[in-house]
């Protein structure tokens, strides 16, 4: 029992990332009808927003510390982050420590901006082109974005720690009445799951309960008619693209403490996220979220030692295997609607 709960928990954080990326992909596909292969790159850029901000926050200048001396008796030079000068040392330390969560505020405008630029500058011209062309051009864009990041940040993963308060793990089993130390779970993964849940909830609420969301949903159902009613649907869809980019970016920002970001992390997630979208059902938002968590949890179950003994290597291929089975038995995916991208 405890092992099962542990695996479910382990699956949640990866599942959250899958769900968030797949949600963005589905938003773009549902509104603009574009298959966006550059979505993984947006996730990666989000992660590098966090890296950038923590670098900005720790920008420092040399100051001669009169109180300390080095072994030759000269006054010691110490690096003082500029942020100490502005907020004082105590507050400055807290801000640096909380760099990752603070990056959320920094990442939202950046990601929305990138999303707008992408949609207006490139994807707009591909609405009428075949899906193969859309896949190809966004694939090219993904390579370009990835290489730009590699040029500026290098090829090695950059560790970006979580705030001190969330480092370490807590004993989840003890809370539920199991033996202590059976279910240990890092705090940050729980934060990530909660964060993903909030974002997903916010996107659904935005679409469901605001006038803007209502118009967008109407546009998803029948773009032409909404346009005929005198609503500028293109503008709203552009905004949705920005939101989808921001969702992917935020998923990336918060993922940095779990896995140090490197330039190809987006591609690694993208392939799986596409599988997630297809399993969930092309164009179905709730399907994408459901499939994201399901596949994340399934993957973590498949990497249990007992399972690996009987079926070696199953953890590597379980997601693809499930995708193949689902596509062949339920061609529309788990929650796909009729008539959306069936052929």
């Amino acid at each position: 029992m405890d092992a099962i709960i542990l695996q479910i928990l382990n699956g949640l954080d990866k599942g959250s990332a899958y769900a968030l990326i797949a949600l963005g992909l589905t938003l773009i596909f549902g509104t603009l009808g574009v298959v966006n292969f550059a979505h993984g790159a947006l996730f990666m850029i989000g992660a590098f927003c966090a890296v950038t901000l923590s670098r900005i926050l720790t920008l420092s200048h040399e100051v001669i510390d009169e109180t300390k001396t080095d072994f030759l008796g000269n006054p010691l030079k110490v690096d003082v982050p500029y942020i100490y000068d502005i907020f004082g040392q105590a507050t400055g330390d807290v801000i640096i420590d909380w760099a990752v969560p603070i990056s959320i505020l920094f990442a939202i405008p950046v990601m929305v901006g990138i999303g707008f630029a992408m949609e207006r500058g490139l994807i707009k011209h591909f609405y009428k082109r075949p899906h193969a062309d859309q896949i190809l051009v966004t694939f090219g864009l993904a390579i370009v974005l990835q290489e730009i990041i590699k040029y500026f940040y290098g090829a090695n993963p950059i560790p970006t720690p979580a705030p001190d308060a969330f480092r370490g793990s807590f004993d989840f089993g003890a809370m539920l009445g199991f033996d202590p130390n059976t279910i240990i779970y890092p705090y940050w993964r729980l934060v990530y799951f909660a964060f993903a849940a909030v974002i997903i909830g916010a996107v659904f609420a935005f679409l469901q309960f605001t006038t803007f969301g209502m118009v967008v949903r109407a546009g998803m159902a029948d773009r032409e008619t909404v346009g005929l009613l005198g609503i500028n649907i293109d503008k709203r869809f552009t905004i949705m693209f920005g939101i989808a980019a921001a969702v992917a970016g935020l998923a990336g920002v918060m993922y940095t403490p779990i896995n140090s970001p490197n330039y190809h992390m987006g591609m690694d997630f993208l392939v799986l996220s596409f599988v997630v979208v297809v399993v969930g059902g092309m164009g179905s938002l709730s399907g994408a979220v459901l499939a994201g968590f399901l596949l994340g949890i399934l993957e973590s179950f498949a990497s249990m030692a007992i399972v690996l003994e009987t079926l070696p290597g199953i953890n590597q291929i379980i997601i693809y295997l499930v995708a193949i089975i689902i596509l062949l038995t339920r061609p529309r995916g788990l929650m796909g609607r009729k008539g959306v991208m069936e052929e």
Partner: protein, 398 residues
């Protein structure tokens, strides 16, 4: 040979280009500043033609039927593994290795195609991608006894090699063709120029010519027409009472066999395999080659493959000091500016150049280099008023 005059000319041109490639690709004398643009060394020439085969095969599927497979590297990888096992178990002669690699890749692609072709459009792409990624992951983990995992496979001294032991043709571990070592090179020096003629390259080039000839025959056959019909309107094809599945499956298997052939040849030239050649970026690369050259055209994929492999080798070799040499004649300020501007795109930045190039082609030139050539050609022709009449193409009524 069953070709019309135009196709025969095309085949002849390609054959001549292949034959004289060691000259054509080596236009600059040794030791000159431009020598790094030479591509006439065996390793690169072999890659040019082998990836040409890969792209020709991919084009039979994507160019004719419009099915975009994102998993073709898996067939190349499977072919490579089959070839290296033939070399380990049977003989270092390349013939059995190449034949078996084609057959194994064919069987594997039959399996994958039979399942993937139940769906079309983006679902097909994702399914093939899923299969390729599965093969890659398995090759890296569980199948390590067969694939060598991370270290890959290469022939070893203590491999059985039954035929070699019995016939004692050669017990060396070099790939050969009835005793002719694939690495044998003959260097001809003419003045400052050094031209390398490599046995492996010519074997690969002959195989590519055969592959190219078969692809022309497929393009011009009734079977090719059916595949084109699938691309232009599959629904209508179904309504006329034809089942399109056998045709698409046949195209898929043929292109899988081409990929296997390319994989087998890669092993024949350089006897080692690693799982990374099945990674999905490798699948993306062949898509790139086909698109860049011109999908659905005969010569396009060969051009695209040649272009990308050439650029990859040449551009990634340029470094900062070479740039400094080039721009040395300019005033210092402008020189530094130019070097900073160009530097991200060369050397390790080759992928950036590739990505930008790829985007530009998809955006402005969806027909690839072939269409670009045609456009340029038309630009010059347009001056003659006689060519103003419509080109005889008719659009089908929807």
């Amino acid at each position: 040979m069953g070709l019309n005059k135009k196709d025969f000319t095309l085949l002849l041109i390609v054959a001549i280009l292949c034959l004289f490639a060691p000259f054509i690709l080596n236009p600059f004398p040794e030791g000159s500043a431009l020598a790094q643009f030479n591509a006439g060394y065996p390793d690169l020439m072999q890659r040019l033609v082998i990836f040409g085969i890969f792209a020709i095969g991919f084009n039979i599927l994507f160019g004719l039927t419009g099915y975009l497979s994102f998993g073709h590297a898996a067939f190349l990888g499977v072919g490579s593994y089959a070839a290296i096992w033939m070399m380990k178990l049977l003989t270092m002669n390349v013939i059995p290795a190449i034949v078996v690699s084609v057959l194994v890749a064919g069987v594997f692609s039959l399996l994958v195609g039979w399942i993937s072709l139940r769906r079309s459009g983006i679902y097909f792409s994702i399914l093939t991608l899923a299969f390729a990624q599965m093969s890659y992951s398995l090759a890296y983990s569980v199948l390590t006894p067969i694939t060598g995992g991370e270290t890959g496979l290469q022939p070893k001294v203590d491999d059985p090699r039954i035929l070699d032991r019995v016939l004692e043709i050669s017990t060396s571990q070099r790939a050969n063709l009835f005793g002719l070592d694939m690495n044998t090179s003959h260097v001809v020096r003419l003045g400052d120029w050094a031209f390398t003629f490599n046995a492996g390259y010519y074997l690969a080039a002959i195989v590519m010519l055969v592959a190219f000839y078969i692809s022309i025959r497929i393009f011009r056959s009734p079977f090719g027409m059916m595949l084109r019909a699938v691309k232009s309107n599959q629904q209508r094809l179904n309504y006329t009472g034809l089942n399109s599945k056998p045709y698409t499956l046949a195209a898929f298997v043929i292109s899988g066999m081409y990929a296997g052939l390319a994989g087998g040849l890669l092993v024949a030239m350089d006897t080692q395999v690693g799982a990374e050649r099945m990674f999905w970026t490798a699948s993306g690369e062949v898509v790139l080659m086909t698109i860049l050259g011109g999908a659905g055209t005969l010569i396009g994929p060969v051009l695209g493959a040649g272009f990308i492999k050439y650029m990859e080798n040449i551009v990634s070799k340029i470094n900062k000091s070479i740039l400094e040499q080039w721009f040395a004649f300019m005033p210092d300020g402008i020189e530094d500016l130019l070097i900073t501007l160009v530097y991200p795109f060369i050397g390790k930045g080759w992928h950036l150049t590739l990505g930008i190039l790829f985007m530009l082609v998809v955006i402005f030139l969806p027909g690839g280099l072939v269409e670009g050539g045609q456009r340029v050609g038309r630009l010059f022709k347009r001056k003659k008023p006689a060519d103003d009449k419509p080109d005889g193409k008719t659009t089908p009524a929807e």
